[in-house]
Subunit: 228 residues, 6 copies
């Protein structure tokens, strides 16, 4: 079960758009937290929040010699290690010629209570995935299975995904604008600032709806704190 | 209010597909009028027509020294200069890591009566944009705000957008096949030829529906003028 | 009319996902059969199967001298050569600046009973194409007509499409995961193995639905043959 | 032996830079004659001129069934068909993962009196190629042999190379600025205009050397014809 | 003549590698000052330093209507505006299909005392350019002239070049590692820190030459200031 | 000191071109052993052979929280772990905006007796690197230091480099045609077949020099074994 602190943090983050998170993290000096490429396979997915469970893939080596293959992890073992509530996020090195995830693995991940899936590669069995309904962000759709182009090299290591560093237990937030990664140690602060930003945006939208010009919106007449 | 001449021109152009406009302009010697990249965020948008209001962005420079920043334009000033009926078209240099437009600016543009938005970069707040409903053509969706990657360098200057030159007051026409730019001085001629092309296409479709082979369609038995 | 043997083969292939076909062909030593790029213009298209009718395009040459132009084929002649039940598959060299197919040609292809269309380039007249309803897989949508950027160089020759060799009469299978090419001489074997794979996948999905872990699924308790 | 007419044409073209040829062809309405990608493996090669001998490659198909393989041409047969004085120009589809030409084939081409080689793919055995000395324009250097990624599909067909249409017997001219293709039927006119352009450029360079401003160079005080 | 202050600044910057400048600017919060793409046409060029004279190009528009063409600047006018000692730096939008600079313009720029040329596009007349000897950084070599693909839209405006913002009078420094842009207002501080970095690097190289391990080099036993 | 077995293996591999190694490995079923991108910074480097010492980089994360940074390796520690005779090969994820290696680290690697360096990213301090003389294969040259864009995530792990899987202790062979990776367990067999291939190539070259047509070279009149 999720610790209470996490539950509150997740609840806050679920109320903040990735657009706002990217903005507030940039102001905090985190300039590279938006994952390039992955988009939801269905734009109607709700916003998801979860701790990163990282997967690291490398290109295919045919005939991996015996000694090495024993040292290499196996995809199904990684799957069975994922805790409920995590987001499986894969460093697929932008591989579009083979799927990182297919319907059978995704069905199992859904059973295990995984919150969502992110890959900078591709997925397959699109209709099957939509039927399962687990939220998935991917850079493309493809037919060939993973074993035709890639090997799992490890999990819960620091990875790169879509040009962004992801450490195990970072917070992954994903919605219709894509995926952002929130560093674990800064997540509470990011969530707080994100909520402030959402309030500010809501106030601005309201002003715009009344016909106020953008030039009159800034500098702001009130601090966002005093708006709510 | 729009001059009567413009109203007639716009009315004509709204009846001509970008596919037909690209074809007739090519025959007139205009070989580079289709904007590479931007597609509608919702394919059901109606065809739009408007005069180009150009925006020019350059990459981010942190710490722009004081003297220069005063010379630089500000996004909100550009927004408040746009006349009703224009199409805001941005030279975003293909930047996908930050949005050129987000929901607050788009809401204001809608209020001002802008007809549509085109960028060869990205937009953010997808659900918000869809709710506003202003027609938008973009090369991608992203989360980070403009200020994280780009600066507005000017507006109503000649720009490049998706590999095409755009001059202020060019006609921008956009539909489900993308965006074409019609030079202002040639727009009346382009519209006339475009309508002819539409009539010809309609006649061809009718012939095909009757089972006529393509080889019998050309050379054409009648001039398109005599068909209508 | 289709020979009985073909009818049975097509019927089998229509029951096998491209994802499964890509997997079984890889195991048979065919490592490069998934066409990179083309995706369906509507994900709800049914899976299609047909013999490849290949089209080969080259870049535009203005002012092709008279002698040569007579040797060059003409698009409409190619169209009128296509038999019912084939899949028109075009080597468009990834050209996105001009459409390989537009609504008039597609309407005629539908009339001729063509099963579907694949291009590693682009198509135009999106709304028209959706209205016709013929299944189309393409790498993009564009406005300019073919003649602005490309020439038809021949048909029913070996081509490359999306990085894959396609020979006339290869089997083309396409669904929501994209397009695979099945060599004609191996198609019966591929279909048989594909059906086995489908049975295995169905059994695995069933096990997963019951909560079985992936690590218990492999090695498989039963051969797929004994499952059905 | 080369016909006298060709000898004079070749002699003229060897005196015209590809930069000038690209310029004069553009003015003649040929907008797409510069081959994107291929550069000389040694910038000191002299300018070469020759009739195009086209080669067409497609991606690898493993296990091409017997019936088809007999219909496919073989690389060595193509080589033995090339006449002295031609330029071998290959449609390699931008393949960088395997070489289109290696040192043994190139040594044989040199023996046969071929003038030069152009590929929009890659070559291998760089040191060997430099030792042979036959002028080569390529988009890259690689190690794997052709058979690992590509099949020869035919020769002396119309092809695309680096985004340009090439017909058999087109004139290929290559120098340190790359490769241009001159349509056979227009070559005499292109050569004549090219020589005029060279004379004009020489006159302009002379004026610049004397310190004349560019704004005083145009409009030109004299016609280039009267300069020589 | 150059002001004394500039002379000292330029002298300092000429002693600092672009590698060091990129490093010290990053530490000062300037994260995007290295120009992606342009490399010297001859690696032996000395390091150059000069104030940016910016040029802005847009894609070609055929048949620019009369009224507009009068508003458009002309290339030769821009050339004749460049002061001695500047670096001409062009926003060529990555255009490789046409040259931004050719030998006649470059010869004139050399006559005017321009220090060097940078483009994120291409140049032509390679042998001529090497003969002139003016230092040039470019993303490629090509044959077609500028007028085939681009229009000059203005000069001494803020531009983007290789993904970097360049303002008129920024300092441009270029050497074998490429091109960096130093904001005018920060140049004195950047030069000072750059010289410190060079002293530190020299000390480290000396230590390494003596066989000291990298792990013993840091933290540094002495401040770089105390080394010189 | 190197074991005697390794010395003989290395000696054999140094006599086999990467072009031959890529060919023989492909025939053995290893289809993906040529590293895309890295080329020598000086084509005259001798062929190098060494055991892979892998380095793995991920994108920059600013403000890595304290707890994590302690778990992260440090570049200088990796350097000091490299044994004499190895080839340092870096998974730089194609990063061109920052150098993976600069002159100080390379000077230290040369001191430690490292045989060569391979990166699918970039290097900086080009003149310094050439002066040191250690053979380097890289995808580009850049100015910014590593810390501006990347973090070292580990060493002696399985990595991907230029689209190829590299395991610690794989054999890395590099020459003017680029870099190939030879699996450790298959290296003796690959070396043997490579030497056979070299003998066959030498025989073919000799035949070509005598004027034999390629069509007469195959099928071969003699086995390569009987040639030497």
């Amino acid at each position: 079960m999720m610790p209470a602190e996490d539950a509150a943090l997740f609840e806050s983050l679920r109320r903040v758009a990735t657009a706002s998170l990217a903005g507030v993290m940039f102001k905090m000096g985190l300039t590279n937290q938006w994952v390039r490429g992955p988009m939801p396979i269905k734009p109607e997915f709700p916003r998801i929040v979860g701790r990163a469970f990282t997967l690291r893939f490398i290109p295919l080596r045919e005939g991996v010699p015996g000694a090495m293959i024993k040292k290499l992890p196996v995809n199904r073992d990684a799957v069975e290690c994922m805790p409920a509530g995590c987001v499986a996020i894969a460093d697929s090195r932008g591989t579009m010629d083979a799927a990182t995830f297919g319907d059978i693995v995704v069905a199992r991940l859904a059973k295990r209570g995984v919150t969502g899936i992110v890959t900078d590669g591709a997925v397959r069995d699109l209709h099957g995935l939509l039927a399962i309904g687990l939220p998935i962000w991917t850079s493309g759709i493809t037919a060939p299975p993973p074993a035709t182009r890639m090997l799992l090299a490890g999990w819960q290591q620091p990875i790169g995904c879509g040009g962004v560093a992801v450490f195990p237990d970072d917070l992954v937030v994903a919605d219709a604008d894509g995926v952002v990664v929130v560093p674990s140690g800064l997540a509470a602060e990011v969530a707080k600032r994100g909520l402030d930003q959402e309030r500010l945006d809501a106030w601005q939208m309201e002003q715009v709806a009344r016909g106020v010009a953008l030039s009159e919106l800034a500098p702001l007449p009130k601090q966002p704190e005093s708006i709510s």
